[in-house]
Amino acid sequence: MRTTSPYVELHMHSCWSLREGASQVEELLARAKELGYGTLALTDHDGLHGAMEFAKKAYGEGSGSGIRPITGAELTLTDGSHLTVLAETVEGYRNLCRLLSLAYKSDRHTPRTDREALFAHRAGLIVLSGCREGEIARQLDAGGTKAAEVIAAEYRDRLGAGQFYLELQHHDIYGDSQRVEALSALSRRMATPVVATNNVHYHVRGRHRLNDVLVLPEIASGDGEALRQLSGSHRGDPADRRALRLQPRDRPAI
C-alpha cells in the first residue's frame, strides 16, 4: 500500500489559469495520485473555472482519485501583485467567490482584487503571501525590508492568527535564494509562520514547453525583441522546477 505524501501542494495552476498552466485538472490529479498525495490545492489565476471539476474528480463518489481537494485561487491585486488565497471553510469558499465577482465587476478583462475587499471578506480564508510577484516579495527584492514588514504586519493583524503565512518558493532562479532568506528572516521578526509551495504549472516536466508557449506566445512568432523585453516573466525557469513533485524545491546547498 502506498504511503500518503506528507507534503501538500498549496499553489498549483491548471490550464484554467489561461496563458499559464499547461496541464488539465485530470492530468494533475492522476500525477498527484501516482506521487501519493493525500491533499492538493488548485489555485488558478483569478478564477475558479476548474474548481468544480477538480473537486469532483478529486473526491467525487465512485470516480474520485481519493485526493482531498482544497479550493483556492491566485488573486491579482490592484497593484498587479499576486496573492494565494485558499478556502478553509464553506464560508471561505463563498467569500472567495464574492472577491472574484468583485474583481471581474471592476474589469472583466483584467480582474483585480482590492486589499480592503479581501480584509472585509476574510472569514474562512487562508492567505499566503504569494510568488515572487507577491507584494512582500517584490518589496524585499527591491531592498524595501521595512516596507515588507509593514505590509506583512497588516496582513497578519487584519486577517488574524493562523490565517496568514509567508510563502516560500525556490525554482533555482537568480534571486530565489536571497528572497527565501529574506522571507525567513521576516518570518522570525514578525512571528508569522512560513509555508513552502512549488507554484506548479504542469504535471510532468515534459509539459514545460507548452507552458512556455502559453506564457510567451512570441516564441511561436520568433519575435526576438518581444522576448528580450519579457525578462521578468517565467522565462528561464529550469524546466523541472514547476512540475508536480513530492516536496517543494529546497534551497540548494551553497
Binding site: D172, I173, D212, R228, G232
Partner: protein
C-alpha cells in the same frame, strides 16, 4: 558585450566548483554566495547553464557557469534579469 569566457574549473563529485584557475594559479573556492540555473531558448539553440557566484581564496569574487549541454565551464559577469529590465 558580456560574452562568456572559457574557464578552468575543478568541480567536486556533485558538480560544485572547488578550484578555479586564475592567471595561471589554481585558487580554492572558499564560499559560494549563490547558485542558480538558466534554462532557455529551447525553440532555437537550447541554453542550460548552472551558475555559481564564488568567493576565491584571497577574496576575489567571480561568477562561473557550467554549460549543461556540453559540460564546459565559463566565467561571465552576471547582471540580474530585473536590473537588465530596469536598464532597458
Amino acid at each position: 558585450m558580456n560574452l562568456p569566457l572559457p574557464a578552468a574549473v575543478i568541480a567536486d563529485s556533485a558538480g560544485v566548483p572547488a578550484m578555479v584557475l586564475v592567471r595561471g594559479t589554481l585558487r580554492p573556492v572558499v564560499a559560494i554566495g549563490d547558485r542558480w540555473r538558466i534554462d532557455d531558448e529551447w525553440w532555437r539553440t537550447e541554453i542550460s547553464r548552472q551558475y555559481f557566484a564564488l568567493e576565491l581564496e584571497g577574496g576575489t569574487r567571480t561568477t562561473v557557469f557550467q554549460d549543461r549541454m556540453t559540460g564546459s565551464w565559463y566565467t561571465q559577469q552576471y547582471t540580474a534579469p530585473a536590473q537588465l529590465s530596469a536598464s532597458s
